[in-house]
């Protein structure tokens, strides 16, 4: 304890507290160039991160910025400010603490740049903006430490890559900069540490006492879960019972739509009028802040939420976490459970609620994995080059730069340490000229190379536009939802443009837990009115859909292959037993394919257990191949464990369909035209700076001035198929939504060991798939026919068909 300054020591002892061992250990390691601290929520992680800073600043000798704190959430930065400013004031330390996020006023930001505080709390995007200023070296002069909070969450996204590139810039400006990473429990701490430290420096890991193991179980509901779907309406009474028995409960959902539906149903059944709120990323910021504030004041008994509450804001007395729907990923489950009970030495309490029959098995698998501490994770991919392109532009905004020096800098970021120089040069070339095979407008290129070899912006005014488009967060095109005739009134939230396009006036949907009626689009706003209906007509707008992890899928297969299922409720065990009698169980290391007729169609069900995204891709590839073979597929549906295809002809030889070579050949042709690729391209092109989200003086009368990025994608494919952005897009799509890696993993796992069961009717395992939402019709000439039919209907309804004869 001798190294703690007296003010801090006194503050602890006045309260009868003593620092946690890991807090003292962080202090002891204060001179290490990089340290990763892994500690559970509520373990005094933040204080552990800041203690070395407070000790160093206690004498009051430091001038200018000393510590930079970066967190993935603006709210977290504000929360930390509150939680740090109070002890600092009580200790009487001469430390100025300020936050700087997208919400900070321009005046305040200007003042911070001229006169930085000792501790600046910020986000990756605001940091990227700071290093883009010409006077970045002035702002960061004297910077000693950087603390990256929730580094496990950041490392999995492009925001983390952008942050690490920014840190490589900071490290060049301040060579003595020491880095601290704060993380929740992760599967591979070493990989995370390598991303945190400047390459190739080591990064020691400090593991805090994880506390007692969590108390997790499946919620006992009197009603059996339905065969399919994700609403979990059957569990509402049992969940309400739990809410009554606990002080504050967080109810996690995997998608925003599910959260909305559940909240709605919960509210209808909430006879005791318990104060319950909803919180997810599509809701308006003010509304979310109101919920957060009520939570902090302890006024809420429960919050229905999604990943937007995954990160470590301290909500006070959460004593129960309920996960609705199978957790899909054990690591996320464990981290969510960590949100309950911030008292360090009490076990967190969590309940899993399977939303359908199959999820009962999934939840059991997740429970076992969580008890075994078997966290799942995929290896971190190499640093994405669209983020690098943006970093090059950011660097150019700050002033002329040497390409050699910049390459040296960026390869100290762990994710980019293996990036070949040629790839870096291709990114630089893209930033400078667009990197097209056709060179026509080079007099207008964005970056110019000076005689001394350094690059600079051709037009310094371009810096404004680049700064306006910083960041890697992609709002999928969303539209604000407002109550009609309340112009200027606060928006209720946002929905995706694609969802809005499917609405017709009179349609009702859920947002913010209430049912609204779609009235129309006004400019770029969705106008709605309140609606008293008890059931929304359209319930879903898309949200994140997680795929069940590889490890969890393997556990599920193992459970399915047990001789009996004593740990499963009877309704689920009976169902599985029936499957073994009628057909057979999917077996590890083999691929089960069932074919059967049902209601005049021929069905094929492929149990790949490759996760939702890969099963979806498999569905697209297989139906394409079936179309070529004249099997006339009509549509398919995919879940985490299987793909069900229907068509006009039976599949007699699934082996011919399911060869990896065939699938891979099909992939190339199919991918290029696919909407998934177009979406991936839009993200890549926006991050790399080809497309602007914001431009100065934006406020166009109409939308005809902007055109879809799909057009750019099609044009590039036609005239410049090897362009950098197309290469990046392909890599990203394969990794993300297409998830071809999981198909390859599946094919490697099953080899040519295929079990084909031809049944005379639908099997018990396949039946729930018919009830799943998200059926994909096979497009082609079909969609044209459907459009023509709708046009006729509309013409008839309008009475125009006869009039125009």
């Amino acid at each position: 304890m001798e190294s703690l300054p007296p003010q801090i020591l006194r503050w602890f002892s006045d309260r009868g507290w003593s620092p946690h061992p890991h807090q003292m250990e962080m202090l002891a390691r204060r001179n290490a160039p990089a340290t990763l601290l892994i500690a559970p929520t509520g373990g005094g992680k933040t204080m552990a991160g800041f203690l070395p800073t407070l000790a160093e600043l206690a004498e009051g000798a430091h001038e200018g910025l000393h510590t930079l704190y970066v967190s993935p959430l603006k709210a977290l930065a504000a929360d930390i400010k509150r939680n740090l400013a109070q002890p600092v004031a009580e200790m009487g330390l001469p430390i100025r603490i300020e936050d700087r996020t997208g919400d900070t006023s321009a005046t305040r930001k200007r003042r911070q740049r001229a006169d930085p505080p000792h501790i600046l709390l910020t986000t990756p995007e605001s940091l990227a903006l700071l290093i883009s200023y010409e006077n970045a070296d002035h702002i960061f002069r004297g910077l000693q430490r950087v603390i990256v909070d929730e580094v496990h969450a950041l490392a999995e996204s492009k925001r983390g890559d952008q942050l690490m590139l920014a840190l490589s810039r900071l490290q060049a400006l301040c060579p003595r900069l020491r880095r601290i990473g704060l993380s929740a429990t992760v599967d591979d701490p070493d990989a995370l540490a390598r991303r945190l430290a400047p390459h190739p420096d080591p990064c020691p890991i400090l593991q805090a006492d994880p506390g007692p193991p969590p108390d997790i179980s499946m919620l006992d509901t009197s009603a059996a879960p339905p065969w399919a779907g994700g609403g979990a309406a059957h569990a509402i009474p049992a969940v309400l019972d739990q809410l009554r028995q606990h002080k504050t409960t967080l109810i996690f959902h995997n998608t925003r739509a599910q959260a909305e539906i559940f909240f709605h149903n919960l509210w209808l059944a909430n006879e005791d009028a318990l104060p319950i709120a909803i919180h997810h990323g599509s809701l308006d910021r003010l509304q979310r802040e109101r919920v957060e504030a009520a939570m902090v004041r302890g006024e809420l008994r429960a919050v229905v939420c999604t990943g937007s509450l995954d990160l470590g804001i301290d909500w006070g007395d959460v004593d129960l976490v309920i996960q609705i729907g199978a957790p899909k990923n054990v690591k996320r489950l464990v981290q969510r459970i960590g949100r309950a009970n911030h008292r360090y030495n009490a076990p967190s309490k969590a309940l899993l609620v399977p939303a359908n029959r199959f999820e009962v098995v999934e939840c059991l698998a997740a429970l076992e994995a969580a008890r075994d501490g078997a966290l799942d994770g995929d290896p971190l991919p190499p640093g994405p080059r669209d983020v690098l392109c943006q970093h090059i532009l950011i660097t150019a905004c700050a002033g002329p730069f040497s390409p050699d020096a910049l390459y040296g800098e960026i390869t100290t970021a762990g994710a980019y340490c293996d990036l070949p120089r040629a790839e870096f040069d291709a990114c630089l070339e893209f930033c400078a000229t667009g990197g097209y095979a056709l060179r026509v407008y080079d007099q207008w290129q964005r970056l110019l190379q000076r005689p001394d070899g350094c690059w600079q912006l051709r037009d310094p005014r371009a810096a404004t536009r680049i700064r306006m488009n910083l960041g890697t967060i992609q709002d999928t095109d969303t539209l604000k939802v407002r109550l009609k005739r309340s112009r200027g009134g606060k928006p209720l939230g946002e929905i995706e443009e694609g969802f809005a396009a499917t609405l017709s006036p009179g349609d009702t949907f859920l947002i913010g837990g209430r049912i609204v009626r779609f009235e129309g689009l006004r400019e770029m706003t969705v106008e709605v009115t309140r609606n008293a209906a008890r059931k929304p007509k359209i319930a879903t707008f898309t949200g994140t859909k997680f795929a069940t992890s590889t490890q969890l899928s393997a556990r599920i297969l193992t459970i399915l292959n047990q001789q009996s299922w004593p740990e499963l409720p009877a309704h689920t065990a009976d169902w599985l037993r029936l499957q073994t009698q009628v057909s057979q169980m999917p077996r590890p290391g083999r691929l089960l394919v069932e074919s059967f007729p049902h209601e005049g169609r021929d069905y094929t069900c492929v149990y790949g257990f490759a996760g939702r995204n890969a099963q979806q891709t498999l569905g697209l590839l297989l139906t394409k191949r079936m179309e070529d073979l004249g099997l006339a597929p009509l549509g398919f549906v995919a879940t985490d464990y299987a793909t069900l295809i229907w068509g006009m002809e039976p599949t007699t030889d699934p082996k011919a369909l399911l060869s990896l070579t065939t699938l891979r050949t099909g992939l190339d042709g199919w991918l290029a035209e696919n909407a998934v690729m177009k979406r991936a391209f839009r993200t890549v092109a926006t991050i790399a700076g080809l497309i602007e989200r914001n431009s100065p003086g934006q406020r166009k009368s109409g939308r005809q001035a902007s055109f879809s990025s799909d057009i750019l994608y099609d044009t590039l494919r036609k005239y410049d198929p090897d362009h950098l952005l197309l290469r990046i897009t392909r890599e990203e799509a394969l990794r993300g939504l297409v998830d071809f890696a999981r198909i390859e993993e599946m094919m490697a796992r099953v080899g040519d060991r295929l079990d084909h069961c031809r049944l005379d009717k639908i099997s018990p395992l396949a039946a729930p798939l018919l009830l799943e939402v998200g059926k994909v019709p096979i497009k082609g000439t079909g969609i044209e026919r459907l459009m023509a039919r709708e046009a006729e209907t509309l013409m008839q309804a309008a009475g125009l068909a006869s009039l125009t004869e």
Binding site: R446, A501, I783, A791, L800
Partner: protein, 229 residues
């Protein structure tokens, strides 16, 4: 306005939807151009040639510089197929005057080759007020009774063919560039590759067009629907 489903031409490049405007038989091609068979006249609007050049000059954005070639290729294919005597461009042919002057030599010669032996009329648009210097006749309005061709529709006009708005319409949630047609006028979709669309439900278009107006969606087979529903 008289339009009927039986008058649909075969699907493909020059599949079209036939109708009459002010007693004149016209055909809205799925490719986004208008064909006046009797006068062997082809009409296109809003080519926005040189858009990527203008954006890189003005904003430092380097969009793929292939849109001019692509637009001209598609126009060339229509000319080869239909063999018109006259081509009318309804304005905003170039993204701005400088874009016209900076047109790459290959694109310029491609355009001039296409114009060879044809009457070619440039209607001036709001993006390109000055006449282009590749030949042809430049004018603000072209009268070919009973039709009038101009860039931006006038509310009181009759028998008018115009462009400017880049209208688009949807069926089953899918938006496509569209012709808008009522008894008084026809508004063409933008033909240029780098052009976006304005929803036909936008108030500007909704007030301009009559209640029984049709939207004719472009595509392999043009599809018509009531514009206002």
């Amino acid at each position: 306005m008289r339009a009927s489903a039986e008058n649909m031409r075969q699907p493909g490049l020059t599949s079209g939807f036939e109708f009459t405007l002010s007693g004149t038989e016209l055909c809205a091609l799925g490719a986004g151009a208008l064909w006046w068979a009797k006068q062997k006249t082809l009409v296109v609007s809003d080519l926005h040639l040189g858009k990527s050049e203008r954006l890189s000059r003005r904003n430092g954005l380097s969009l793929p510089p292939y849109e001019t070639r692509d637009t001209l290729d598609r126009l060339h294919a229509l000319i080869t197929d239909l063999r018109p005597r006259c081509v009318i461009c309804l304005g905003d042919t170039f993204d701005d005057d400088l874009a016209a002057r900076n047109l790459p030599a290959t694109d310029k010669s491609c355009l001039q080759e296409m114009m060879h032996g044809l009457r070619w009329i440039w209607i001036q648009g709001n993006h390109d007020p000055a006449p282009p210097f590749v030949g042809g006749e430049a004018m603000a309005v072209f009268h070919a009774p009973p039709l009038t061709f101009r860039h931006i529709a006038l509310p009181e006009a009759i028998g008018e063919v115009s462009g400017h708005y880049h209208p688009k319409a949807s069926l089953r949630g899918q938006y496509r560039p569209a012709f808008l047609l009522d008894r008084n006028r026809l508004i063409l979709p933008a033909f240029g590759t780098y052009t976006g669309g304005l929803r036909c439900t936008d108030p500007v278009l909704a007030t301009l067009m009559e209640q029984d107006a049709l939207a004719i969606l472009t595509g392999a087979t043009p599809l018509r629907r009531p514009m206002h529903r």
